[in-house]
Each structure stands twice: as C-alpha cells, then as structure tokens.
C-alpha cells in the first residue's frame, strides 16, 4: 500500500466513522477536530482491520503517546508490519 493509498483509506475512516471531513494533514486532531482518546482507540481498531493483523499493546501505546496529526498517523501506519506485532 502506498502512502497515498493509506491516506485515502484513513480519510475515508475519518469521514465515515468520526464525521471529520478532510482534516488538514498537519492539523492537531484534538484541538482542531475534537478527536479524543476514545476516537484514537477506535482508529487503531480500524487500522488493524485495514492492515489485516493485530497490533501489539506496545504498538498501540506508541500511537496513543505520540500521534497528534494525520501525517503522524500515516508515518505510523507505514511503520507497522505484522512481524513487529
């Protein structure tokens, strides 16, 4: 999956699941769109569905601690592989 493919899928998830349409790539998702920790947990589940494998607790914690923007989500998804799960 290319970064563009991932971006398209993530934007669809944001639109359909979180009712956040076309967020800016560097928007602070919490500040600009009210995207909170509950949404982040839901997003991780969606990412697992998208990738077809389960994330480890460590991978999830890394996301919860560090991700604030859509670009960071794309970096994160690109870094994930089942081998590290």
């Amino acid at each position: 999956m290319t970064r563009n493919d991932i971006q398209e899928r993530i934007l669809t998830i944001f639109d359909e699941e979180f009712e956040i349409a076309n967020p800016g790539l560097d928007d602070d998702l919490r500040e600009a769109h009210g995207f909170d920790s509950i949404d982040a947990i839901e997003l991780l589940r969606e990412i697992e569905d998208m990738l077809g494998f389960e994330l480890s607790q460590e991978q999830k914690k890394r996301a919860m601690d560090n991700i604030r923007t859509l670009n960071q989500i794309l970096d994160y998804v690109e870094s994930l592989t089942p081998e590290t799960a």
């Binding site: 979180f18 009712e19 009210g34 909170d36 509950i38 947990i41 839901e42 589940r45 389960e54």
Partner: protein
C-alpha cells in the same frame, strides 16, 4: 441549612407520549401505551408475556457524534429529556458549569442492548474483535451511563448521583436530589431515570411468574392494577427528568414552579429481596409525611406503585390503609397506562402527577373494572375526576426491598 426545594421543569418520554400535551391527552382519554412485544431475535419467542409498554413517539435525537459515541439507547433517552428540561428552564452554560448544579440520574442496569453486543462478542467463535471491547462499549453500557453522558453533553460540573435500584431508581434520584439542595450541598439538581426497550427484563419477570400473560391479544387491557383480573406487570421503557432548585433562587429568576418537593421517605425492608413488605412500606410513607411535616389527611392523591402483581397491590393497599385510615387519598396506578417503565417509573409518575396537579384533574386507574376485594379499602379514583390537587404522594418499591415515597405540594 434547611431550604425549600421546588420543581421548575419536567420532561418525559413515555409509552403514552413524549410531549406534555400528548401525555395529558392519553391520561384524559384512557389511552394505553402497551403494545405487542417486538421480535428481538433472541428471547421474545420464549417469553410468555407478549406485551410491552412501548415508546412509539418519533423522537429526533439531534446529538453530535462527539456525544453519541458514548451513548447506548438508554443514554439517548436520558439526554433527550434533560435537554428539554434545560431548554424549558433556560439554564445557561454558566449555571450548568458552576459546580452548584448536579445530576441525579440512573437506570436499572445501563444499556442491556450494548451489553448484549458485548456478550455476543465474548461468545463469538471468532476472537477477531475481542480487542475492540473497550472504552466505548463500557461507557455506553455502564450503570451510570445516563448520568455521565448528561454531564458531558451539558458541561455539568456538580455532584453526580447514579442510583441503580431497579424500580426506585428515579424516585431515589428525585429524593436524593431534593436532599442535596435542601441541605445546601447543591443549588440545583437535574434528576430522573431512563430505561430502554429490553426483553431481558421481561424474561426475568416472566421467569418469576410476575408478568401479565392473559392479555397478549389485547395489550391495552393490561396491566390491571387493583383489578380482580390482574395477572401481573407489563415491562415498559421510557425516561423522565425534572429540574429541582432552591425555592428562593427559583423565585428570584422568575421560574415557573411546577411543584415543591416537601417530603421524601426511603428505607429498606431489611429482608426478602423480592416480596414487598407491609411494615417496610408503611414506614416509608410515614417517614415521608414526617419529613414533610404533613398529616395523612393533607394528601389528596397517591400515585401508587401498583404494578398489578397479585400480592404487590394488596400489600401496598394494606400499607396505604394503615397510614391514611378509612378515608384514604384518591389512589391511581398510573402504570395501567404505560406498563412498568422500570428505572424511569418514579420520575415519569412524578411528572404525570405534576401535569395533573397543574391541570386540576386526576386520571383513574385504567382497566380497573372490578376492584379486588383485598384492595377495596382504598378510595380508588372513580373515573376522570376534576380536582384541585394540593398534595400528591408518589410511591415506588423495588426489588431488593427498597421503598420510596415522594410528597409534592402545589405552590
């Protein structure tokens, strides 16, 4: 500190209507909200009681996703009636967030619909979605989901009480809210309860042989409180909310005062968890009268708990007679219109009583065609009766032996 506490806004979602006008129309025209039990794909075809007090109003829950995402059906009901109460009272965000306004709101057991989904996931052969059982499902289903979804949606920062005592859930909410203001811990409380459409509750009472089964073909003919042909309760759904506030501040802001909570009685039978107890109920009614500094003769009308079970109605009748003597207040069982709306029944029956107080009439018990001789010592409301109600009592009793009585006076 000992302050007067008044009710300044009220809203109900009930099987006999959502708006005040709809509910009054049903009460004045003897219209029942009991309908056939819906097929739930799980329990409904194994339940003997095929009737349910069903909310049929078409309600537009216009809530943003950021609020919806932590709400099961029960919280939708709760937040809707509270939204209406806040709008009626014109409460500002500053008041809601002052820390001096709290919430007392509960349900029988959170959201059984969401809980069912969780159990389906637990027992699914696929473990794929196991990890998804987390914060959202818990927030939607937990016992205090109504109270805290209310605080979240409306930015309320005061105290939270979330009673979950089955049929006394929302009468306790009102009673504890009243005490919170009376003794100065809060200046205002939004109080009530809600329960969603749920067949597991029906199954529980059905298994206890406590549900009505003889009127499945004619739902509006049941429940039949105090009637010789009564055959059990009918489970229902709904929500009710009232705003309680300190009398002086309500007067200062020119609020409409729907009634004053003058007394609250609450105790436990200290024994059996199911069977009602005449001594426990009698004591509750007396505690409420003493709290209100009223004599039995001051009470005009009793909204009885009256679930239409064989023994519950008899024991309640005996308790009323013991406390009020030969000439009891007029008594109606309002569940005859709606079924037993469980955690919301105390609030809904309080609101119906407030509406009748405002309009100056008393609705009779529906389906009371022939009074059971064991309940005949009460002064049953003899049909739709014009009456200038001044003091009403709202009685509720719950599994677990919890009893409540609220006394409300016209101001």
């Amino acid at each position: 500190m000992d302050r007067r506490v008044v009710i300044t806004a009220a809203s109900a979602i009930s099987p006999i209507g959502h708006t005040r006008d709809e509910i009054l129309h049903s009460l004045q025209n003897g219209i029942s909200g009991v309908k056939p039990l819906r097929d739930d794909g799980l329990l409904s075809d194994r339940i003997h009681s095929q009737v349910f007090g069903t909310v049929s109003a078409d309600i537009d829950f216009d809530f943003e996703r950021k609020y919806r995402k932590t709400m099961g059906p029960v919280a939708f009901y709760a937040c809707q009636v509270v939204k209406e109460v806040i709008a009626q009272a014109g409460l500002s965000p500053e008041v809601l967030g002052s820390g001096r306004l709290g919430v007392a709101f509960g349900s029988t057991h959170g959201s059984p619909t969401v809980q069912r989904g969780i159990y389906e996931t637990f027992f699914s052969k696929s473990q794929k979605r196991f990890a998804s059982i987390g914060a959202v499902d818990y927030l939607k289903s937990m016992v205090h989901t109504t109270a805290v979804n209310i605080t979240k949606m409306f930015g309320i920062t005061g105290r939270v009480i979330s009673s979950s005592t089955a049929c006394t859930t929302s009468s306790q909410s009102i009673g504890f809210g009243y005490e919170m203001i009376r003794f100065g811990r809060q200046d205002a409380m939004i109080c009530g309860g809600a329960d969603e459409y749920d067949t597991t509750t029906v199954a529980v009472f059905d298994n206890l042989l406590a549900c009505s089964t003889a009127f499945n073909a004619t739902p509006s003919k049941t429940p039949r409180p105090f009637d010789a042909e009564r055959d059990g309760l009918v489970v229902g759904e709904g929500a009710g909310a009232v705003l309680l506030e300190d009398y002086d501040s309500a007067r200062r802001r020119g609020a409409d005062i729907l009634g004053e909570v003058v007394g609250f009685g609450c105790n436990n039978n200290g024994g059996d968890l199911i069977f009602p107890n005449v001594d426990g109920i009698t004591a509750t009614l007396r505690i409420a009268l003493e709290d209100a500094r009223l004599n039995p003769g001051d009470v005009d009308f009793i909204s009885a708990h009256a679930t239409a079970t064989k023994m519950g109605d008899v024991i309640e009748s005996q308790a009323i007679r013991k406390v009020f003597g030969e000439r009891t207040p007029m008594v109606s069982g309002l569940k005859s219109y709606m079924g037993h709306t469980m955690g919301s029944c105390g609030a809904i029956e309080t609101i119906l009583s407030l509406y009748m107080m405002a309009e100056g009439f008393v609705a009779p018990t529906l389906n009371l065609d022939a009074v059971d001789p064991r309940c005949a010592m009460l002064r049953h409301t003899p049909g739709l009766t014009d009456y200038p109600l001044k003091v009403v009592g709202v009685q509720n009793f719950a599994f677990g032996g919890v009893n409540t009585c609220l006394l409300i006076r016209k101001v």
